[in-house]
Amino acid sequence: MLNKFLATGIAAAALVGVAGTAHAGKDLDAIKARGSLTCGVPTGVAGFGLADSQGKWVGLNVDVCRAVAATIIGDAEKVKYVPLTAQQRFTALQSGEVDMLSNNTTETLTRDTALGFDFGAVTYYDGQGFMVNKKLGVKSAKELNGATVCVQPGTTTELNLADYFRANKMTFKPVVIEKVEEVRAAFFSGRCDVYTNDSSALYSTRVANVPSGQSPNDYIVLPEIISKEPLAPVMRHGDNQFVDIVRWTQYAMIEAEEYGITSKNVDEMAKSDNPVIKRILGVTPGMGKALGVDEKWVYNVVKQVGNYGESFERNVGKDSILKIDRGLNNLWTKGGLQYAPPIR
């Protein structure tokens, strides 16, 4: 009897879950009617999404929310931030509590399909990296043969580490510690030569957790990235126009960087004779209409949020305390992966 009851309950839950994913394509209309974008952000990740001393949300992921609001509403401040933990984020999106997630979520096939989501363009190419003490004099992960490596157990991090060393015919001594604080402490106290984690986490660890008496500059993050963690915004299936807008807003920020349009010079750039820039900034109309937003959408985004490079450097790059190298996140013209299809 009880079992039957339970089974019915689970079936009902599954049905409702499915119904929740098949959403009517009204997200964009709802945002416009509300006059604000509801954006799921992480509950505090340095550089990517956190509340500053005045309680204002800042970060690379937060800038995506702001840019989308600038595109749709014309005002980057019209965002309602909903901080979500890793467990909550997908149900919050499925149930319609938020319009989109910009939440350090890695894009994978199952999330894109089985969970009923669509991903935007990649905000940040993250991946597993290595951090070492400068005193070791190591410049590349290929020189780490025989090193002791601090790593957390049971994560893909641990598996990637073993694969990488095996593939490069090197040996290592793992120091496996469950708690992240203790791993860091072990590394900074010199118990291991190398600490491995997602590179964005390595950079923030370097700044935030270095013990007093040492400086963040005593440590370097090696250039090799051994796993793929593309972080991208997430939207529900169902409103393709909204998904398009999010993706093209991100592309527009990359295009703006490529053509040298910044928040400072955007007004002069609008007077440019270059037909591409004229098209991007809506001086030659058409793009906004095609996307279903205001013709000055890119102008608004760049003016209020900045281009991708500005956003990157301000939040995580050289203008921030994290000092993350552009690396994979550089423009394709400069050896990185950030490549936007043309706006035409």
Partner: protein, 426 residues
């Protein structure tokens, strides 16, 4: 007696050791024997050493004025971090220029709590205090309150109905008619509203900008969750405890089932159910405010625990009390309200306050579901890369604030015990 000394040879006795005054007290309590003396000296040195180290870190070499975390390195405690972040830690993401609103909301809630701690207020005044206090608090926090017509009608119906049934025997004709009229207005209005005759009108009190609950944070969130969690859980817990002792099998079964179910799972799982599972069961597009969901979860959970504490009090009463009340011809309501509960609650004050203190701190578990209570905003202050790396200072600060609240609660419990047990003192 037998030890009689020869005349003229009085033995000189040493004067008795002086055990009065400060020196005497020290001698008696700290240096009464060699062993005690050594222990005292060792402990004084140990405490002095630890205290000196702490003072050196917390005061002498501490940095109070640094402009960023990197300037703080190399010093003792970085209190500049608290100086930079205290407004965020206290009020979270509430719009910065409007921080006076949560500040006054907290003051309103504390005033409400302090006033209701006074025994002289334990009558109709309590309702007024809580009504006004809650209204001010939520008006300040939300900025705007919309009271829908149907809610007003429901309240009228409940008030009228409660008045009619509770004051049936004692109220005069005029008062009774007032209750009847109130209930009738409520009932008729609701019926018309459901039928669609009355419009969905609502009373808007909107002096300030609206601030949604996702922006609330810090100390007001902790106090609201704890205060209203316990304020609703207490009567609910009393009902559950009474229900558990009921003779009616259905009521008893429901109460036992609820209490055991809720007590059998951790609060975290209840919070996660409320925040992750519940939205999946609702039709898409409808969302219940996350803060409200957490608040309800806290109420349900605290209710189950309070019920068990109160049941302990009920069971401690001798059977004669129940029988005497029955013999007096009191009905169930009168017996419970006038004889049983006053005695039972007095017995359980220490465990009850213990539960309250526990729940005040347990509210910080809402950080699991991304609500920014006081502890979570303190955590957030640590994430800021410009100021990261000083967890000790932030957690000490948070611990200090929690201690102030919990210690005042425990002092109040002491006062209540004395106050309510005056009758039994000899």
């Amino acid at each position: 007696m037998t030890d009689v000394l020869p005349v003229g040879e009085r033995r000189q006795l040493a004067p008795p050791v002086d055990d009065s005054g400060v020196l005497g007290w020290i001698r008696k309590n700290l240096f009464s024997s060699w062993g005690n003396g050594i222990t005292t000296v060792v402990l004084i040195f140990a405490v002095g050493w630890i205290l000196a180290g702490f003072l050196d870190w917390a005061v002498l070499t501490a940095n109070f004025t640094a402009a960023s975390g990197s300037e703080c390195r190399g010093y003792g405690a970085c209190w500049a971090l608290i100086r930079e972040k205290y407004r965020y830690i206290f009020f979270g993401s509430f719009p910065y220029e409007q921080h006076w609103r949560p500040l006054f909301a907290v003051i309103a809630m504390l005033a409400m709590l302090v006033l209701s701690a006074d025994r002289r207020m334990w009558n109709w005044r309590l309702l007024v205090i809580w009504g006004v206090g809650s209204f001010v608090t939520f008006l300040l926090m939300f900025g705007q309150i919309h009271i829908p017509l149907s809610l007003m009608l429901t309240v009228a119906l409940i008030l009228g109905g409660a008045g009619m049934s509770l004051r049936k025997l004692i109220a005069g004709a005029g008062e009774m008619n007032a209750y009847r009229a109130l209930a009738a207005i409520g009932l008729a209005g609701l019926a018309l509203r459901i039928a669609g005759v009355l419009p969905g009108w609502s009373l808007a009190i909107a002096p300030l900008d609206y601030v949604e609950t996702s922006l609330w944070g810090g100390i007001p969130v902790t106090i609201i969750l704890a205060t209203y969690g316990l304020a609703f859980a207490f009567p609910y817990g009393v009902l559950l405890a009474l229900g558990r002792r009921s003779n009616l099998p259905l009521i008893k079964g429901l109460c036992v089932g609820f209490i055991e179910l809720i007590r059998g799972v951790p609060l975290i799982s209840l919070l996660i159910m409320a925040s992750v599972m519940l939205p999946l069961f609702l039709p898409s597009g409808t969302t219940i405010d996350k803060f409200l969901r957490a608040q309800v979860a806290v109420i349900l959970f605290a209710g189950a625990y309070i019920a068990e504490v109160i049941r302990g009090g009920l069971q401690s009463l001798p059977k004669g009390q129940f029988e005497a009340a029955d013999a007096m011809g009191l009905n169930y309501m009168q017996k419970t309200l006038l004889i049983i509960l006053p005695q039972a609650l007095r017995v359980v004050i220490p465990p009850l306050i213990n539960t309250f203190i526990g729940f005040f701190k347990d509210t910080s578990l809402v950080l699991i579901i991304g609500i920014f209570d006081f502890l979570n905003t303190a955590n957030q202050a640590l994430v800021d890369p410009n100021w990261a790396g000083f967890p000790g200072e932030v957690y000490l600060f948070a611990a200090f604030v929690y201690f102030v609240f919990c210690y005042s609660m425990s002092r109040y419990s002491k006062y209540l015990e004395v106050e309510l047990n005056k009758g039994t003192h000899r």
